[in-house]
Symmetry: C2
Subunit: 213 residues, 2 copies
């Protein structure tokens, strides 16, 4: 990553990355309220004032955090794309597995996801943060939509949106309310049944369930 040459004080790319990573940690542990330039300096054991030389305002700092979050998650997005778009035909089992793996991966990357939830709320008040998060999410939704489309699903865009939002809801509860969260290991088979039901339903009539009333 190159420092922005338009900035009057050129930032070293290493320090920019360090600030982004530290700010993600601070967001996850202290919340949005705890994210200050000073807290980032403290986290990095830097002299007070260092972070604010790179990002003057809170807006600038928050936008930098989102950029770093997305930079880190690009590898996730590439992994999703690789898992759905390469190596033979799309199968429903493969889509379910990719989605379940994504959930497990999010849950393991706890700090980043907590930072993302904080930033989602900050996005209500900061359009740049909102727009950056939406751009990342659109990529994920698009990958799922293309996989569903390749497998012949009706309304793949709406289905993909629903699936990713629902899985994010499972992740949100798993990280914030573990006492009432579903076990990520149970998710793949449930997704498989869900995909089967949705694939057959709108185009060819609802699949009757043996016990349906």
């Amino acid at each position: 990553m190159q420092a922005d040459p338009a900035k009057t004080r050129p930032a070293s790319s290493e320090r920019v990355t360090m600030i982004g990573d530290a700010a993600i940690e601070v967001l996850a542990t202290k919340g949005s309220r705890g994210l200050t330039h000073r807290a980032v300096d403290l986290h990095l054991s830097w002299p007070e004032g260092t972070t604010s030389r790179y990002y003057r305002t809170r807006d600038a700092l928050l936008t930098a955090v989102v950029q770093r979050l997305i930079e880190v998650e690009v590898s996730d997005i590439d992994a999703w794309r690789g898992a759905t778009e390469t190596d033979g035909p799309i199968t429903r089992r493969r889509i379910a597995r990719v989605l379940a793996n994504a959930l497990r991966h999010w849950v393991r990357g706890r700090t980043r996801q907590l930072a993302r939830y904080e930033l989602s709320l900050e996005g209500l008040r900061r359009p740049a943060v909102h727009d950056a998060l939406i751009a990342g999410r659109k990529q994920l939704n698009g990958i799922v939509a293309r996989a569903l489309e390749a497998d012949g699903f009706p309304a793949p865009e709406a289905q993909a949106t629903l699936l990713v939002s629902a899985i994010d809801g499972l992740c949100h509860d798993y990280l914030l309310h573990p006492e009432i969260a579903v076990d990520a290991r149970d998710v793949e088979d449930m997704l498989m049944r869900w995909l089967d039901a949705e694939h057959g339903a709108p185009g060819q009539g609802a699949v009757p369930s043996p016990g349906a009333k």
Copy 2:
């Protein structure tokens, strides 16, 4: 609601309610970071220092907000219970409708839900906030679990947890990322297909979909 007689300054119940409602508004518009005693005073056009006479610490103020949120949502919970437990036998269509209506209701009560998401994150650092939120959610999950059980679902507890978490994920995106959110009007039929698939699946073998691979 009665003021706590153990408090040295007895709080009028009306003022306690006003503080709770104002704090929910402040949380939803300014975020957790913006929730201060002063901000609540300002929102209510009260002299500075009034709110802090009722709740000295930030912890006390946050716990009061959760209590007020739950107080308001008790009517929602009663509505859920009424919709699932009265007036004839449980049907799958009725469960789907109750869940879809809950989502629509949450989406309409935007301010409360945004405050709840802020408090969920605060709960990571404040056990009292966390515990109060969990208690409310367990009630909702329990109502759904009993309805699923009455309709003969396998694993009703796990199913209820999954359904409520997934619907909360849809609500989260609808309120925070409307550009990539599923339309609440599409949800009931999707839930119906999901419930059919889940009802038939674990006990009696997966329902084959016409296009399943």
